[in-house]
Symmetry: C2
Amino acid sequence: MTYCVALRLEAGMIFASDSRTNAGVDQVSTFSKMRVYEKPGERVIVTLTSGNLAMTQGVIEILERRARADEATRSLWNVESLYDAALIVGEAVREMHRRDAAFLAQSHIELHSDLIVGGQIAGEAPRLFHIYSQGNFIEATDETPWFQLGESKYGKPILDRVISPATPQKEAAKCVLISFDSTMKSNISVGLPIDLLWYPRDSLRVGLRHRIREGDPYFTMLRARWAGGLRRVFAELPEPDWLD
Amino acid sequence: MTYCVALRLEAGMIFASDSRTNAGVDQVSTFSKMRVYEKPGERVIVTLTSGNLAMTQGVIEILERRARADEATRSLWNVESLYDAALIVGEAVREMHRRDAAFLAQSHIELHSDLIVGGQIAGEAPRLFHIYSQGNFIEATDETPWFQLGESKYGKPILDRVISPATPQKEAAKCVLISFDSTMKSNISVGLPIDLLWYPRDSLRVGLRHRIREGDPYFTMLRARWAGGLRRVFAELPEPDWLD
């Protein structure tokens, strides 16, 4: 399983992904789910992936082959709009479907792969897209400025309560990490390390890449104090006087 | 969608269910998902249902026809063990499958219905079972003293953090209602009223039935103070100093 979050804030964008992959509990591995295409001063594009690992690696390979091809080939390195980046990713998803879906269906395995593609290209505002397994996609708006991939339910309530476009980046990063904590607490198939990327709006370069590993001081403190705080708030709530 | 929770505590048992049913957003109705079979001094058996409404109503009808039949027919009114109650419910689920599954499959609708059956019969300790769509079932233990049905993920973290067999009933009821709040906040297909039943261990009679409707003073206060408390704890957590 996977957990990824991406936010499009007024201040910039935050991308975060776990890195645990499993095919059954006896086959758990670490694979980064974040890819970054950066040409400083011109573009930053980030992809986050979820779904069958064979599928998502295939999609990434298609994207990277296009990126290494000649300038005439449309790729994440030369499209002029994030919308076209989303189109290219959606097309790669469909190419993998054409290649693998029928064979996997014979073993009753459904091919699925959801991706997030976001960032900024010079001349455009920052944009964020969620690409579905079918290759179609939606774009984040001010009403819904964030997307999740994978095991999204445990970590959704805190995002719902906190995140709006105006949320400052530090508060947003804290919220994203608490969202990961909730997810990791309830689903062992989501695990450290967490890759976190901060992109400051209009900078056209990556602001920060941070890998949160086991024992990371900030994340460890955050988890402990959040758990303690929840227990305290819960304990302070009055009990029902109608139940005796 | 549905949300139900049942706890088997040292002090007794709590059952809770929402009552919203939907077949698409334009067809939302209220149906109680809780049935109680009480013969004071001898037995209290509670069923909670989730899944296709046609299926769960069919299961309940089968159970109630058996219950109204002569004494020779094994029913929830005369079995001598909760385990046999779970068997009867599982058999009713399978009967509905035999009747409906093939026809629904023609319309690509999968028949599913998860149930909780719990309570106490004189001569036994309180017991709690989760019956699957296939009619097989599992029993709650001291390690896992609670079950959920339906839209379970949003409301699971608070149960994970709070509930153990030793939890007193008032604290447990408070926790169950916060679990409902988290679920209702994130999934509009789970809605009020909530039916809550408290069964004090070894009493062999229902301790309390309480219906929580829109505007219920305790639940309204709980939701507001929990939300405020979460925001306060979140605000007090330090922000990451590595993100500038």
